[in-house]
Structures are given as C-alpha cells and as structure tokens.
Symmetry: C2
Subunit: 113 residues, 2 copies
DNA sequence: TTGACGTATGCCGATATTGGCATACATTAG
DNA sequence: CTAATGTATGCCAATATCGGCATACGTCAA
C-alpha cells in the first residue's frame, strides 16, 4: 500500500505547501493561471498540476473564458478540515469554548438584512 | 523530488485518516498504546508507527511509565492548521466575520478568575 | 493560414509512504 | 532466572508523489 493520493480529499490536497500557497494567493479573487505563475514564482506546468489536484478535490472552481481559466477558491470544501480542527482548538483557546454560545447569541442579536 | 515527508509538519501528518482517527480516539484523555489498538482496530505495529509520526511533528506527547506509554494530544501543534483555515472559514460562515469583535468583547466582559 | 499565447499533459527519475509480519527491547510477573 | 507483556523497529512490495522539460491543444491576432 502507499500513501493516500493527494486527490483523495482536502486533507491530502493541502498537505503540500505549494498548494496552500496557491490558495492563499488566489484568496477571495478570481485569478488566471498566468497570474498565479507570476505571483507564486512556481513554473507554469507546476501551477497547472497543483490546480489540477485542487480541482479534483473541489477546492477551486474554474470559469473558462477563451484561452483563459479563471480560478477561485471554493471555501466550503475546506469545511471538513475546519470542523475537524475546531474541537482541538478549544483545548488551547479557552475562549473558543464559548463560541457556540456566542454564535447563538449573535444570531439572535443581529438584525437580518 | 517526492511528496513531503509525513513528518514534515502537522499538515502532512494529519493527511492520513488513520492518524486523525488516532487523535480523535485519544481526545482529551491520556491513553495507552494497547488501549488505542483496541479502540482503533488498527494493528499494534501500525498504531506505534502512526504515533511515531504524530510524535515527530509534536502532535502527541508521551509519558513513560514502566512498559507503558501514555499518549495525549498536544493541541497547540494544530494551531497552524486552524490559523490557516480560519480566513477561508469566514467565507462560508459569515458569522465568523464577527468573531474577532466578539472575542474582544467577551474578553472585556468576562471576569478574570 | 500562420504564429503567438494560455493551459494542460506526458514521461522521467528520485523518493517516501503504507500495511503486514517478524522480531528486538525493556519491564514486570512467577 | 524465565516467561509474558507492552511497544518500537526492520524489511518488503506496491504505489503515488513532485519537479523539470517537452509538447500537445485550443483560442485569438495578423
């Protein structure tokens, strides 16, 4: 047997720092591959391959426009990771213990738009 | 070049689901290896090897007692992961946008022990 | 049509992993 | 002392990765 494929899930996909970096660079924007090559310093094939992995696990979404590909981060795909870490986060950040209460409270307090 | 070693950092270490499971099983307790073997269903050598990886990245701490090894989770070692995901979490959970304000507010409100 | 541009793929070598089984090591029981 | 218990390691085979370089493909410009 071997290690799980990087395309197995979000956990494996983000194990590679280059891919986390790409997600960081994309951020909340919609970016083109060549733009990512410039901003990341990685080679073009490298960027395309990493994007392929991120695409495979749904961490990025693409919009095709002519010969360009506009990539953007698909946040919710990271939810499993956030959900998995949260319980442990409570152990080092006591204030997170109150998070649930706070969110509930906030939900009640805030005005719907 | 090859994939980063699993012992490179917490991100790589938790990419393997068996290791996440072990961390979940340990939870907030202090558990013995044989205890983990029973609760996880993994073979003893497998558990020991995975624990070795988790130890290498500081995700677990051990206390030696005779021929027993008591393992416990070292929460803070997961902080880099939590920190990395948080910004993205805000994109799918709008309420997290207010988290900082809330924490600050709570900090002011709560009484020191 | 021909060529330039933007992306994705293919092939390669080097490397590290995972589970299984056997086994070594240290500690405690008889 | 000898055996049993609790853990860690070693070796193996199968697999998948990552970067580099070349190259294929589709689209738009002259």
């Amino acid at each position: 047997m071997a290690r799980s494929p990087t395309t197995a899930d979000a956990f494996n996909a983000i194990a590679e720092s280059s891919r986390r970096e790409l997600l960081d660079v994309i951020g909340g924007d919609e970016v083109t591959v060549s733009e990512l090559v410039l901003r990341s310093g990685l080679s073009q094939p490298q960027v395309s391959k990493h994007l392929g992995v991120l695409r495979a696990v749904g961490l990025v979404l693409v919009r095709e426009e002519g010969r360009h590909r506009w990539y953007r981060v698909n946040g919710p795909a990271l939810k499993p990771i956030h959900d998995w870490v949260l319980p442990f986060a409570r152990t080092w950040n006591a204030r997170l213990d109150r998070l649930d209460d706070l969110l509930t409270e906030l939900k009640t307090t805030e005005k719907p738009q």
